[in-house]
Amino acid sequence: MIKYLIRRIIMLIPVMIGVSLVTFSLIYIVPGDAVEVIVGERASEEIREKAIEELGLNKPFHQQYLSYMSNVLKGNLGKSYINNKSIKESIMERFPITFKLTLYSFAISVIVGIFVGVVSAVKQNTVIDSIVRGTTLLGVSTPVMFSSLLIIYIFGVWLKVMPVSGIGDGSIKYFLLPSLVLGLNSAVFTARLTRSCMLEVIRQDYIRTARSKGIAEKIVIFKHAMRNAMIPISTNLIMSFGYLLTGSVITETIFGLPGLGSETVRAVFQRDIPAVMGYFLFQAVIFVTFNLLVDISYALINPRIRFN
């Protein structure tokens, strides 16, 4: 197990190098002059050259890349071209917001999703199942921007019971609506996943065995079937947490949450190169970490792997 972990972590190195290389090259093909952004209007040639020199933009690609990466390894992600803010600080400031949003959405997603999924699996081919399938599918098909606007209108403007946007003092009520949108959206996926996993598990021989032992149906479903279905479900859930962490761009934008997602979009749009690099690297690390967590959790909850 530990050996496997170490191996997995070592395997991450080429991936992270690849990620940084891809980001770095992407930046290279982005049109627009970084220097222009930094030095601003009416800058003289000297100022421009000075800036180029400072940023090392006159060096060849690989040198720039290497110096950037050596800085990264030292924990220095550089500063934003646009507002001169340390990227690391920006991440520290914004990631918690995204994380909170993700956490709340995730909670909603898990609670609602698994419950609905199990119910519809157990009641397969009944009216309840059809309703669940129909609505979840409709849920999957509704763009977040559409549901976000709708929910803002209903709760924020019409009923005036919820804040419309922003994080205010950072209390939970500011996260409620966006979490609801994001959470329900992902709950729909969780429900579908749960349903199909449960259906698959319920068909298995060992469920028949359990029933043949005279075990109550509830225990068959919630102990025997769930435990097995949870293996794929929970790994998927962890992954979905990873997706939520990085996938809340639109929600953050619409709800005006100063999270990392909307900030990344800002950086990309403004060609804030060090910011883009930093955010992408950070999110890649997060993502890769979640991948790793998936593997570990898979090993932890699946005895078949645990003992290998």
Binding site: V15, L26, R133, L138, P143, S196, E200, A284
Partner: protein, 301 residues
Amino acid sequence: MEKTQLMNKSQKKEPEKKNKSNNPWIIAWRRLLRDKTAVFGLYIIIFLIFIAVFAPILSPYHPIEDFNLSEAFQGPSMKHWFGTDWMGRDILSRVLYGSRISLTVGLASRVVTLSIGITLGALAGYFRGKVDMVIMRLAEIMDAFPNFLFAIAISVAIGPGLYTVFFALGFVGWSGMARLIRGQVMLYRESEFVEAARSLGASNSRIIFKEILPNCMAPVIISTTMGISSAIMAEASLSFLGLGAQPPTPTWGSMMNFGRQYIWTAPYMIIFPGLAIVLTVYGFNLFGDGLRDVLDPRMKD
């Protein structure tokens, strides 16, 4: 003697009777047609294709040229069923034309995904070893990027536009497709019919293309159908951020994007394209769900 004759007769009759019907795809198709929800999804898709093809005939107005500033911001009426936008264009016509973009993006981006995914996935799954190692590392690198952000970055990098959307949305999906194909290829690579082909001396390319890939198609079709719907959704999101096809091209996402500033005054500008997206994605999802039931052996009961 009599008995054998009888048997032969009945055997001979059979293939004629179900002449065209024995193709596994057609059988799957027929099973699909028995699934009411899938058929409903199919109707929606056909309806959309119909609209996309005949948009010029169906649209009461031209989506771009027929603007009339004096008729701006009209709510739904007999003249303009879905109302008009800020420059007096007919929203219905724009929504109808928008189906063209959405469907094209859905399909074109899948073509990109499929061509990259199938090639790399098949190579990795079939040859294993170093090839597999390299391709899978590439896929992992791809996966490390949050998809949507990556699509945004690509769009910004090569400049927004319809072709960019095809590419960006197609490209971000390849790793998933490659994994899928790889898994399938690895599964079938060990199967006895591939072994049989190999023992006949079939070349690698023959085995990949004639023996293995046709069998991988079921999950590919399912994931492509589902992929179309998520591509349509992603296109709408990109357009919503101003990165999709550029104005005046009517796309649902950009219509919503522009409608957003009028949401409190002219909500119909955002509702109709929004509903169009919901309907389209719903159609593809319904259909994809049905396909999964029919084609995915695990789901068969």
